[in-house]
């Protein structure tokens, strides 16, 4: 035992060369295996995010309220209520990006070498080990003639041919055909190599470039921009604006930051003023409700007053956003309290005579031939008097009425209610005012307000990310998966007078079955006598 220990101690053991720690870390970070592990973790966390209602999803408040204090504490600490913005999720995405970059850097040189310096020659054994191979007899005067035939067959089938000559060392054989491993022989062979779609080998790198463009662009958009909402109404009635928390004209928008069940609001000053001049809702059935299932389109007309660039008038429709100085305005939703954008009034003169029809737009005034001025005040969909003031019971068009400020030719101003429903002539509220009996003959339905979503993206990063990165990624993936790199070799060996044996072999990195068809076509077009096929 002691002797053994002694021998171990005295033996001069050479230490294995150690790889520097930095290299080992880089190798680890650039390994595809690491990338796959990251993908699996991301899949797991994303599924968790689907199962736990996230704090920006409708219904979160209720589900959060139903959780026990312990659940709130533990899940909140783990970031499960906002998993996609948790530090570890972002960290994983960052690591994945790093992995993609390092893996690409690590593997690109060899991929480039693979296509720039293709393997033009090979041994017979190597060729016969390829998934597609065949040995055929071809007749011809010399190797050059055979090579030309093969070249033209390759070219006809879409392969770019190249001819190469190589001297291969092989083991000599004895009389019985057995290999004699003590002797080698040199053998000259002529090769024709053809390939198609070699750039496909670089497809994965192109995919990675676009994927990184997408990641980085999206990240920059998140960091440099913000999202906000603005509730716009063309109605200038201060009571309505106050009661429904609306804006008719503003130079500030409110950012909402959600933190579990709390919403924090921040005011952001705009470099211009927005004024809502009109909103419209195109309905399928104009007599139906203004609910979403009876709507064809929404349109908000806004005016921008910019101290630098002057005035701009723009429309924001569904799926047709409007961009201005890095801000994009989108239709988000509507406050479906009934209102009207255009009213048709039927006025019966108190003194008798033909009724007068007046079309009155929201916020506008009209003048009658006798000099009476009618100014829009407000519109109520379900009229009711509350505390001596006109109000609405619901948002539905149950009892619509236009409230107007009318100035007589004498200069007296009075409040007038024009109802859509036919009221008895002797009803006090239907009594003639300012010389006319007023009736609301028609109105174009529109909601009280539209909610516009505003996206600020000063660098257009979202556009770069999704249009350049995203669409580029689609094309790159099509390029990678719908095409392939096909290679084919032919080794020409003389077997007799005017007789040659050609070993064909080939492979493709994708779509092997189609390649096999192509390979067979090439071989069959050349073969005068097929020897064998594996």
């Amino acid at each position: 035992m002691a002797a053994i220990e002694e021998s171990i101690k005295t033996r001069n053991i050479s230490k294995p060369k150690t790889v520097p720690v930095v290299n080992r870390i880089l190798d680890f970070l650039s390994s595809v295996r690491f990338g796959v592990v990251l993908l699996c973790i991301l899949v797991f966390l994303s599924i968790l995010g689907m199962l736990f209602i996230q704090q920006n999803v409708q219904g979160f408040e209720t589900s959060y309220a139903l959780r026990t204090p312990a659940e709130k504490l533990v899940y909140g600490y783990l970031g499960l209520f906002d998993i996609y913005h948790a530090w570890y999720y972002s960290g994983l995405l960052l690591l994945l990006s790093l992995n993609i970059i390092l893996a690409s850097i690590d593997r690109f040189p060899s991929a480039w070498k693979y296509i720039s310096e293709p393997k033009l020659t090979a041994t017979r054994g190597w060729l016969l080990n390829q998934s597609s191979n065949a040995v055929v007899k071809i007749g011809g005067a010399d190797e050059t003639e055979i090579a030309q035939k093969i070249q033209s067959a390759f070219a006809k089938n879409g392969f770019t041919p190249r001819v190469a000559e190589d001297t291969i060392k092989i083991y000599a054989t004895d009389e019985t055909g057995k290999k004699d491993f003590s002797r080698t022989e040199s053998k000259k062979s002529l090769f024709v190599f053809g390939e198609n779609g070699k750039l496909n080998r670089l497809g994965a790198y192109i995919v990675h470039v676009f994927l990184l463009t997408l990641f980085i662009g999206h990240f920059v958009a998140l960091k440099t921009g913000f999202d906000a909402d603005i509730r716009l109404t063309p109605d200038t009635n201060p009571a309505i604006i106050r009661d429904f928390n609306l804006n008719q004209k503003t130079d500030a928008i409110q950012l909402i930051e959600i933190n579990l069940d709390r919403q924090e609001r921040y005011n952001v000053q705009l470099p211009f003023t927005i004024t809502c001049t009109e909103i419209e809702q195109k309905l399928i059935d104009p007599n139906g409700s203004i609910e979403i299932n009876n709507t064809l389109d929404w349109r908000t007309q806004i005016r921008i007053d910019d101290p630098v660039y002057g005035q701009t008038i723009a429309d924001v429709s569904l799926n047709k956003p409007f961009s201005y100085r890095g801000y994009r305005f989108f239709q988000a939703s509507a406050i479906t309290m009934g209102s009207a954008s255009l009213m048709t009034l039927e006025l019966k003169p108190e003194a008798g005579g033909q009724p007068v029809t007046v079309k009155l737009k929201r916020n506008e005034t009209a003048t009658l031939p006798d000099g009476t001025k009618i100014a829009y005040s407000t519109f109520v969909p379900d009229f009711v008097m509350q505390g001596g003031q006109p109000s609405t019971r619901t948002g539905e068009y149950n009892n619509p009425a236009a409230i107007l400020d009318v100035t007589t030719p004498k200069g007296e101003t009075t409040k007038v209610y024009a109802f859509a429903s036919k009221l008895p002539d002797d009803a006090p509220i239907n009594a003639p005012k300012a010389g006319y009996r007023w009736h609301l003959a028609g109105y174009e339905k529109s909601p009280l307000a539209h909610v516009l979503s505003i996206k600020y993206d000063p660098l257009n990063s979202a556009f770069i990310a999704w249009y350049i990165g995203g669409i580029g990624l689609i094309f790159a993936l099509i390029f990678v998966f719908f095409f392939s790199h096909k290679r084919i070799w032919a080794m020409i060996e003389r077997t007799g007078e005017n007789e040659f044996e050609v070993v064909f072999a080939g492979h493709a990195n994708r779509n092997h079955l189609a390649f096999e068809d192509k390979f067979k076509t090439v071989v069959e077009s050349l073969a005068s006598n097929k020897v064998k096929e594996f």
């Binding site: 390994s31 799926n319 996206k455």
Partner: protein
Amino acid sequence: MSRLKTGLKTYRIMEEVSRIQKEVFIPRDDSAYTAIPAWRSYLPVILAIGGGFLMLGARLQIGSGFISDTALMMLALAAYLIAALFELTNLYAPSEMAKKIGLWSATLGVFFNLASWLVRWVNAWEFELVQLQASGNDANPWIFRYIPFANLYDLSLAFAFGAGITTLVLAHRKNFQFLSAFTLPIAALILTLARFIGGEHSNLMPILDSYWRPIHVGVASLSYGVALVCFAIAVVYLIKDKIKVEAMAIWASIFSLSVFATISGFSVFTEGVYRAGTFIPNLTGGKPINALFRLELPYVGLTLVGAGLLLLGSIIAFLIYIYGNKGIIKQEKAARGEFEDKLSLKERIGEIKETEAVEYIHYQSAKTIGHWMLRGAFVLQIITVIFWVSGIKSTSDVQAKLQAQLTQKPAQYVAVGKEIANKQQLSVQQMAAITPQQFDQAGRQHFQQNGGKMYLSLNSNPVEFAGLLTALAGTFFVILFAFRTDKLRERLPSLESLDSLMYKTACLAFAGLAMLLITGAIWANESWGRPWGFDSKETGALVAWLTYAAFLHTRISRGWKGRSSAYFAILGFLLVIFTYLGVSYLLPGLHSYA
């Protein structure tokens, strides 16, 4: 010990080399690889698509008197089932006639499927046109507003078409025509689900009126279809690779048990009853409204419990068979001196004792018992479906029956009251302020107001019924695969070609899902200025895409081919199904319409 390890490693390498040699170097059956030349091999595809568009032309010419899209969908369903039946017959009892009928039935199925979708496009246009004209609206929206990608019914129709056309394209190689036997039953299940979802037209949500919708949803349905075919190839690969049918049975039974456990608000295994959802007619003529109350169907719960117990029994029996058998095989190998991981020296040199031989017989008995239990479960599942359908069809006085059941179990009132409150989107404070008595009261009030209008319909529980049918189909296929399995394996193409095709379809599914994600993000950016919001459907599609990405990358990094890839393909498709159905029905989000 280290020698043992080295020996083990060498043994594994040799085994792998031998496997590869067998797969790669064994001369292949040339006829299996021969493609029918040129365009003729794609004739079924050309005819199905061309025929579909001719039907569209005929619909435009003939008008509303033309065959309805629902009837065409049912024809597609029938044709898919016939095609699958004949292809299965051909696998077990090869016949050129069965093969031809299978191929042309599949063609017919794809033709009807496409025709149904195209005719539906015209029907949707006319549906809204009638409303516009009736109300005197002269608006003339563009035709792509009506493209049938507006709800889950439309998507299901397109999904089944995606699977059908992919199967037909692959069938241009004769040796892949058998795939119809595996893909078309799933496509038929999707169409069955569509049938129960109901194809009533409804007005389009304005936000969906974008040219990105046909691009985004079109890509979704095609890539889902390719993922389905990839899944079917993975299952075929596993059968060919001699995976134990009993292992498949365990997974299929676990799936069935989870379906039974979760349907009817978890009442099957907790109360032994199944309650079907009820409807109230929609006065505006659209889809009926969910009445929120569920009515107990007689015997359905009991048969489901019975089927569940038998499935559980079969799982236990198969586990005993697989793991017990594994132990015996280990010891047999040890006795032969073959190296096996984690075997003690004693085990290696031991001999099979008599008692172990008895154990072996026990394990075989477990297998037999497991299969009988599985067959029993299958029969009970059929009976369940019969009870389910007859229960729904024969129940007329829903109000009285529901009243009687609610008197015994009034808890449903509170649950319905809570659902009503949830639908009103009350704030947390408002919800917290409502007492259980108030919820109960709200439920009772809802019943009083609507009880007389409530009715049962086959369409009131589409996902539950589709789940039951899928469980039934899963059990059926496992029983079928257990029958003459070796003959079936012989008829399937080589592992190499199946693996290659699985890889190819996974690549297409991966590229398709990438297109789906990107077009969806661009559309969202155009509509909301928010390309990515981790909405549940977005995340579901992302998760499925990442799974396919992992599938493709494990091939590069770890050389995972064959069986490992097949497991990934199965997982990927399950995630696709979860995105397609689970997200729409279970999770809140922007895509809840589809």
